[in-house]
């Protein structure tokens, strides 16, 4: 998790305005404030997490990104971040469009269903994969729309969403992903991070 936040932080210039959608307990927000002097705001669904953020002096709004993104004016943030949540929405396409409306740039991360361990789990055991990034059973997972890095790549192309950068993360490596290495990175990355606009 830490590694992912570090990658996201590195993508951001200093002093920008950021909205962290699904900000959890505010770990990423704190990192961005400390390292980049970023003016960051959060939106979080879970009451306990909202309070944790408030105690830390972080600005956070309790609410559901699926239904409440309309409250943020268009282009009101330089960056909008959505960390490993897109797959949990009923309508990820609508949410992503809203994020692109609110932010000049959008950074999303996805747990990669194309990761080789996920693939082998299904292939050899014939069961829905349970990994560190996907810890739930099929019947209680919040993830409704799992996808691979390649799926997201194709999706962005088909919706005319501009891909500025893709980064893949696994245990040992953080690597840039291009069209040329997409197949191999889609196999070996646990998490994909997309910078879109």
């Amino acid at each position: 998790m830490k590694k992912e936040f570090k990658v996201i932080a590195d993508l951001l210039p200093n002093d920008v305005r950021v909205l962290d959608v699904g900000c959890g307990d505010g770990s990423l927000m704190n990192l961005l404030i400390k390292e980049k002097n970023i003016r960051v705001r959060g939106l979080e669904l879970v009451e306990e997490n909202v309070k944790k953020c408030i105690y830390k002096g972080l600005s956070v709004i309790e609410g559901n990104a699926e239904t409440e993104l309309h409250q943020f004016p268009s282009q009101s943030f330089d960056f909008v971040i959505l960390s490993q949540t897109l797959q949990a929405f009923y309508n990820p396409e609508k949410v992503l469009k809203d994020l692109l409306r609110i932010g000049k740039s959008v950074i999303i991360s996805i747990p990669n269903f194309g990761y080789w361990k996920v693939r082998t789990s299904l292939l050899f055991f014939g069961k829905m994969p349970i990994t560190k990034n996907l810890p739930n059973n099929w019947y209680n997972t919040p993830n409704l729309h799992m996808c691979t890095i390649k799926d997201m790549y194709d999706f962005c192309l088909s919706k005319n969403i501009k891909i500025n950068k893709i980064i893949g993360i696994n245990e040992n490596k953080i690597s840039k992903i291009y069209r040329s290495n997409l197949e191999i990175k889609n196999l070996f990355s646990k998490i994909g991070i997309f910078q879109l606009s």
């Binding site: 309070k51 105690y55 830390k56 002096g57 600005s59 409250q71 004016p73 009101s76």
Partner: protein, 379 residues
């Protein structure tokens, strides 16, 4: 009671104040109370705005009523708003009856109480009057301002009228304008008072009496609206009041009836009926977007104040949705705003009772804001 009111803290506001009704007032009393000490850096001042039937006695024992302060659950030594650490200030609103300029004060022109000759005041008038207190106490910028219900409405008005006078703000269970339902409930309270023959068009003070029955009914209406359906059912259900069966009369058979009667009739001992008329009217007239020509965004523009809006899930008087609308407006104007909904069955009254999650949130926010404010002052 009036004798006692002479011994409380009062500021004589000499600066002329133009009321929204276009009348100018000056040399009027503003009663207030303070708790804790203002520190050397003056970075620990917290201004509290009270609700409809509140007063300046937030904590400790109210010297007039001899009861506990209305927000003793949240304010005091080692409480969420810790008076060992913070300097807490609260003033009685104008239109009120705890020593500030209100309808039971003596009109120098006629030498008798104002009654209905008192001008119709607004939330903005109340706030402008209270702002004078900051100068008097030597506070340039508050650490925090807070208030629930009408107190929250005053707070939003305060932030709109005096931008950046406070480093942080916690509006609790309130809205930027009074809803039709809230106006209707206030009208019910007013009609109850005015229907009491003792009220006599507000001149009851001449005979040194109070329209007790009308005022008590007005209070009962309020009390119902401060609870939630579930909370009321759990607290009272159909329980009978110290009896085993119905008495086939109109006495208070049910506990809930007895509770309402008690609340209603104990209230008349401490509150002035005309004050209820004036203060509820001020609440009804409150509409921030109207003040700013339909634009709430305009009301909050250029705010540096850090807001935390708090709502209660079972509050049907100032619903979570209404509180969220405030958040949306603050967001749209680029203000720094947080929002939390406290899940509780205690209804609108949640902010006045010992609601742990609420008090923890209040404390967590205030303490973190204090750290930030100290740092900002250092720079």
């Amino acid at each position: 009671m009036n004798e006692n009111l002479k011994n409380i803290k009062k500021l004589n506001v000499s600066k002329p104040l133009l009321l929204d009704c276009k009348q100018t007032i000056k040399d009027f009393p503003l009663a207030y109370e303070t708790y804790g000490k203002l520190n050397k850096n003056k970075d620990n001042a917290v201004l509290v705005f009270h609700a409809l039937t509140g007063d300046q006695f937030v904590s400790g024992i109210n010297p007039i009523t001899k009861r506990e302060g209305w927000w003793i659950s949240a304010v005091g030594p080692n409480k969420a708003i810790d008076t060992n650490k913070y300097f807490v200030v609260c003033a009685n609103v104008i239109g009120g009856c705890m020593g500030s300029w209100g309808p039971k004060e003596i009109d120098k022109k006629t030498n008798e109480a104002y009654g209905l000759n008192f001008p119709v005041i607004t939330i903005r008038d109340m706030v402008k009057a209270q702002e004078t207190l900051l100068d008097h106490l030597g506070i340039k910028k508050l650490l925090c301002a807070t208030g629930g219900s009408m107190g929250g409405m005053q707070l939003l008005q305060f932030c709109a009228t005096f931008p950046n006078k406070t480093f942080s703000a916690i509006p609790i269970a309130c809205s930027t304008s009074h809803s039709a339902q809230n106006i209707a409930l206030n009208e019910l309270a007013r009609q109850a008072i005015m229907a009491d023959p003792i009220w006599d068009k507000g001149r009851y003070f001449k005979k040194n009496v109070q329209p007790k029955n009308g005022l008590a009914v007005a209070r009962m209406v309020g009390h119902i609206s401060y609870l939630s359906e579930k909370g009321m059912q759990e607290k009272f259900g159909r329980k009978l009041q110290e009896k085993s069966d119905y008495e086939f009369s109109f006495d208070a058979d049910f506990q809930v009836e007895s509770y309402l009667r008690h609340q209603g009739y104990s209230f008349v001992e401490r509150f002035d009926a005309n004050s209820i008329l004036y203060i509820t009217r001020a609440m009804d007239y409150f509409d921030l977007s109207k003040q700013f020509n339909g634009g709430l965004v305009e009301a909050f523009k250029n705010q540096k104040t850090k807001f935390l809006v708090i709502s209660f899930s079972s509050d049907w008087l100032y619903t979570t949705k209404e509180n969220k609308d405030t958040v949306i407006a603050l967001n749209a104007s680029g203000a720094d705003v947080s929002f939390a909904e406290i899940k509780t069955d205690k209804g609108h009254d949640s902010f006045l009772v010992d609601e742990t999650e609420f008090l923890k949130t209040l404390k967590g926010f205030l303490d973190s804001m204090h750290l930030k404010f100290k740092n900002e002052k250092r720079i």
